[in-house]
């Protein structure tokens, strides 16, 4: 008997003649009603609830404004509620700052700048920033739980991404404080003065760190306003800052709605405005500071293209797409909300995506097994639902996973839209939710053109096994951040920021220093 038969002998063999061991079970399980192979993920083996404990967190019932190193009552006497979006229950009352409070905070910041912070040796400044970083690390678990309760993001993300990255930002910028002349060789960099900073609700503590850390390291003082739906971790950060012994008034944290933000933007004694948020508000801010001496950086919306070529490692690309759009419920300005798939692998990619979203668990943000938490607010859920009905009306095909969701709270199952055209609103406008719009392409030129055909330009992703294609694509993408074979990776050493209507200025890395310096 000869066993070295050529491979061709097997090309058309009847599988059953070689497979006598096909059991009844095999026949039963491998076919469904229409004979098309289909995986089933509603296994009888369900993960029991594994909630992170809340018993260790300390939260006041009512938070005042943090001005000049102390918590003070708002001059209006008004408070608003912050709720847990997963249960719709009230967590705490938050002070509402008006123009008088903003003025008080700016005066405190100016005073601290002129009297203490400006004159302090850089090595001393660095010590405080280091200390804040360490204190966040020490209380990481408490911060993570509060972040999840207040904003609805999963404990897995707040624990593994938000809080460690926030601490890292302070740590990284502390290192720069006494080395600024090396960052700008041949120049003598000097601080600006008082920075007014307004941050969004999607990464509350992390955005506070992105703003405060470089400002302090470069010798500026700060008036920061967190978003009204997620003020708690910023206020806990105020407690840490108080404990750290940072000179009074160097960091002031005040809470309120859009009007409070406007009061900060319009205050005449502010030298720098740093804003992260929607493009709509960004435009208003830019108009407001026009003609003033205020320096400005804006980090605004995005509608990023994630591009999968047919030679990409598809399973990892699909995982990257999942992380790109469903990370933090899609409340990410750099979310990969547009997916471009090369037509030759479109069916495979779509099948893999559908299988993958079937295994995503939507539910209690505090459960360690939850993949997608609560939508941040009722308003945001309404926006997402509005876009879902727009997508359907535009003729796109919707696929949504079948995961059960809690009866109370704001939740949205992950969604894919196929059959999407470049002219559809769901492919043009930022939705800021777990909604992916999928389009196909045929050639490199076509996808470059389509990916760049958007008013935004914050980020993009490229998936291919070919290095030269990565370099070709990344140089032609009009986007501030381009990831290759990965997505949504952040690091304090890496600059982040946008092109076009996604804003200007960079945060993070060496580039992040220049927004807070005269050079």
């Amino acid at each position: 008997m000869k066993f070295n038969f050529p491979i061709s002998k097997f090309q058309n063999f009847k599988i059953r003649s070689l497979m006598p061991a096909v059991t009844k079970k095999n026949k039963k399980t491998s076919s469904n009603s229409n004979g098309v192979p289909k995986l089933k993920f509603n296994s009888g083996w369900e993960y029991a609830p594994a909630p992170e404990s809340k018993s260790h967190i300390k939260l006041k019932d009512r938070f005042d404004l943090f001005i000049n190193g102390k918590f003070v009552k708002p001059s209006s006497g008004k408070y608003f509620e912050t709720i847990n979006p997963a249960t719709e229950e009230k967590i705490a009352e938050i002070a509402e700052a008006n123009a008088a409070d903003v003025d008080k905070a700016v005066k405190a910041a100016r005073n601290a700048y002129e009297r203490v912070w400006k004159k302090m040796p850089a090595t001393e400044r660095a010590k405080y920033v280091f200390r804040i970083s360490r204190m966040i690390q020490e209380r990481a678990r408490e911060f993570a739980v509060i972040e999840s309760i207040d904003g609805g993001k999963t404990i897995r993300e707040s624990r593994d991404v938000d809080i460690p990255l926030a601490a890292n930002h302070f740590f990284y910028y502390a290192g720069w404080a006494d080395k600024l002349e090396y960052a700008f060789p041949g120049r003598v960099p000097s601080s600006l003065g008082v920075a007014g900073q307004i941050i969004p609700w999607n990464f509350p503590l992390l955005m506070a760190a992105w703003k405060i850390a470089p400002a302090l390291a470069t010798g500026n003082t700060v008036v920061l306003k967190p978003a009204e739906t997620t003020p708690l971790t910023a206020l806990k950060l105020a407690e840490i800052i108080q404990e750290s012994g940072l000179p009074e008034g160097v960091v002031n944290i005040i809470t309120g709605f859009g009007e409070t933000g406007a009061d900060i933007v319009n205050h005449p004694d502010i030298d720098k405005i740093a804003f992260t948020g929607s493009t709509e508000v960004g435009k208003i801010i830019q108009k407001a500071v026009a003609g003033s001496n205020k320096k400005i950086t804006l980090e605004l919306g995005g509608k990023a293209a994630n591009i999968i070529f047919d030679d990409a490692p598809l399973d990892q690309a699909v995982e990257g797409v999942i992380n790109g759009i469903y990370f933090n419920q899609g409340h990410v300005c750099c979310a990969g909300s547009r997916l471009f798939v090369q037509e030759s692998v479109y069916n495979i990619v779509l099948r893999k995506l559908k299988d993958r979203i079937e295994t995503l668990i939507v539910g209690d943000p505090l459960d360690k097994n939850t993949d997608i938490g609560a939508i941040n607010s009722k308003t945001q859920l309404e926006t997402i639902n509005k876009y879902i009905s727009i997508g359907k009306k535009e003729g796109a095909e919707m696929y949504q996973s079948s995961c059960p969701i809690p009866g109370k709270g704001f939740f949205c199952r992950p969604i894919l839209f196929t059959n999407v055209a470049q002219s559809n609103r769901i492919a043009q406008e930022e939705i800021f939710g777990p909604v992916l719009a999928i389009q196909t392409f045929r050639t490199d030129e076509e996808v470059i053109e389509k990916a760049n055909n958007t008013p935004y330009g914050l980020s993009a992703g490229v998936w291919t096994d070919k290095g030269s294609k990565i370099f070709n694509l990344t140089t032609k993408m009009r986007a501030g951040v381009v990831w290759a074979n990965t997505y949504n990776k952040f690091d304090p050493t890496s600059p982040f920021g946008g092109y076009k209507e996604s804003g200007f200025g960079r945060e993070g890395g060496l580039h992040g220093l220049s927004g807070y310096l005269k050079v």
Binding site: P6, I7, I15, L39, N42, K368
Partner: protein
């Protein structure tokens, strides 16, 4: 209409899908973040027990040792009611007859390694004979090794034909094909070897012999599960998976189960389609099960040892 396609087109294995190392490791680490507690832990652990191929593959194996192993396979912990037995015992061909006799009419399968295990460095006819002998002695399952040397030299046709020939020699016995991933060195190669094995007729693909480090890991098993999934979608045919070597703790075994649950789904969540090749996993699972019941950990002495434990002999550590 039958789901299993009558004709399967064998692809060009040089163009097997590529695997991104960073991506696969990231995905693998996601599984380990699932928290399996309480009733899902108990249920999972029982499932793990039922999936174990209780293994002894030592040069020093004797009939006495194999008999004890078989008894353990049947009676994992008689004081704990409602426990399953392991899926199979896995032995060398020379011990199959002993195992067969010891296991009697229980449902526990006998798996035998064959094809010049673990190196696979023997003539084809020797491997065929080895396989026939094991099956003739009563093995229900054959665990073969691929010729890694030939594979790394790019002789994919040779590897394919060899697996097909062994499959023929197996007759009714199910064939598990060991890739020895620790010797293949890259995920791309693991994927390619998986594809070759499945198209050549494997009923199971298996990571390792347990004789080479690294043995089974979560990322490497994930690559193989994804290969099984793609093969299933293109042919309608299910293939089993057996990670082997280095899985000795319950927690790790549960991570594998989570991965299986989320990659291939419920049809694979049984011992017909998934096995653990392990020698010391069973006792750790038993210890955890008893702990879930009583709330306290028992001493290791309460669980029968079914193998020669690691330790020191006169001539050194083993």
């Amino acid at each position: 209409m039958p789901a299993v396609k009558e004709r399967i087109i064998v692809p060009d294995f040089r163009s097997s899908p590529r695997v991104d190392q960073v991506g696969i490791e990231e995905r693998a680490s996601r599984f380990t973040k699932r928290s399996i507690k309480k009733e899902s832990k108990v249920e999972g652990l029982k499932l793990v027990l039922s999936m174990i191929d209780l293994t002894t593959l030592e040069g020093k194996d004797t009939p006495g040792k194999v008999k004890q192993l078989c008894y353990k396979a049947k009676h994992l912990l008689d004081t704990y009611e409602g426990l399953p037995t392991v899926a199979a015992v896995c032995v060398y061909p020379s011990m199959v007859r002993v195992a067969k006799k010891s296991l009697g009419d229980s449902d526990i399968k006998i798996a035998s390694v064959a094809t010049a295990f673990p190196s696979g460095q023997a003539a084809m006819k020797v491997k065929i004979e080895d396989t026939r002998f094991a099956v003739g002695e009563g093995a229900d399952e054959v665990d073969m090794v691929i010729s890694r040397g030939k594979f790394l030299a790019g002789e994919y046709n040779f590897v394919f034909d060899e697996i097909a020939a062994i499959k023929e020699a197996c007759g009714e016995a199910r064939l598990k094909v060991i890739l020895e991933t620790g010797e293949l060195s890259t995920f791309d190669k693991v994927r390619r070897a998986s594809d070759i094995a499945m198209y050549a007729g494997a009923d199971f693909i298996k990571t390792s012999t347990g004789k080479v480090q690294p043995a089974a890991t979560i990322p490497v098993t994930l690559v193989m599960l994804e290969a099984i999934r793609d093969y299933y979608y293109s042919t309608g045919k299910m293939i089993g998976m057996k990670p082997a070597g280095g899985i000795s703790k319950s927690k790790l075994a549960l991570h594998y189960l989570v991965m299986l649950n989320e990659v291939l789904g419920e049809d694979w969540m049984n011992n017909h389609w998934f096995r653990f090749g392990a020698s010391s996993l069973a006792n750790d699972v038993l210890m955890q099960l008893v702990k879930e019941k009583t709330g306290v950990y028992q001493s290791g002495d309460y669980f029968a040892i079914d193998r020669l434990i690691m330790g020191k002999s006169e001539i050194g550590e083993f």
